[in-house]
């Protein structure tokens, strides 16, 4: 058994392969499900000086 044929090295290879394919799978799935469209609203809303629930439209009784 050489340095490159230890069981743990094959374990590493299979792990890396799993991640590469997993990444591609989720990337494609995310693109198809529209996860990367229309998600920029929060960044504009966070700039408003928001007030807690009940404060916006007249005072809480």
């Amino acid at each position: 058994m050489g340095d490159y044929t230890y069981a743990s090295v094959f374990w590493m290879y299979s792990l890396m392969a799993l991640f590469v394919f997993g990444t591609l799978y989720f990337l494609v799935k995310a693109l198809r499900s529209g996860a990367v469209r229309d998600d920029e609203a929060p960044k504009y809303r966070m700039l408003e000086d928001d007030v807690p629930e009940g404060g916006h439209h007249g005072e809480k009784a």
Binding site: K29, A30, S33
Partner: protein
């Protein structure tokens, strides 16, 4: 499903935990199962905790010294690992004989582990037997009297307390003896 994560905090928690758990499990619980050498003691390794429990006076002294080493934070400045780096084997060696590198089987009974992370002072993984008790007593009282320029603080409460000094010396002399590698005999057994 993916799109909903940023709107649904339960889904978010599940996903964040899951992503983390893959690496979390594979790097914590899996390695000791995959590499049996972590738990298999080296042939020459003394099980000091167990011996001390069995009433062995020397082992008890070693364990007391180890506790002082932990208490006073010696491990913040001294590592206990001869790494797979050539210079490490020379520096851990003794009288032109190189030391073997540290392997997991030499540390099976260490609790807490004291591998350390910083070398303000030299590595101690093979310190056992290099200097005798008188040297250590003087060194603990005033490190600079033996090693000019040393950054080690004095430890008078160890040097002036026979019980603590004996324990510390016993512990230091026990370091790195799981492997038999020295040609000539030590100052002290």
């Amino acid at each position: 499903m993916i799109k909903k994560i940023d709107k649904n905090n339960i889904l978010f928690v599940a996903a964040a935990t899951g992503f983390f758990a893959i690496g979390g499990i594979l790097t914590t619980f899996a390695p000791p199962l995959l590499d049996a050498s972590w738990a298999k003691p080296a042939p020459g390794l003394q099980n000091y905790p167990e011996l001390a429990k069995g009433g062995d006076a020397h082992a008890d002294l070693v364990m007391k010294g180890r506790a002082i080493y932990v208490r006073d934070g010696c491990w913040y400045c001294h590592t206990q690992q001869t790494r797979t780096i050539e210079a490490d084997t020379v520096r851990s060696g003794w009288r032109d004989v190189r030391s073997p590198v540290s392997t997991p089987d030499e540390f099976v009974f260490d609790k807490p582990h004291l591998f350390g992370t910083r070398r303000v002072g030299p590595d101690l993984s093979r310190a056992g037997g290099k200097y005798d008790k008188q040297w250590h007593a003087t060194h603990f009282k005033d490190p600079r009297s033996l090693v000019p320029g040393s950054a080690m603080p004095p430890f008078p409460w160890i040097a002036n307390n026979p019980a603590e000094l004996d324990a510390m010396v016993a512990y230091i002399q026990s370091l790195g003896r799981a492997k038999d590698w020295r040609p000539t005999h030590d100052y002290e057994e």
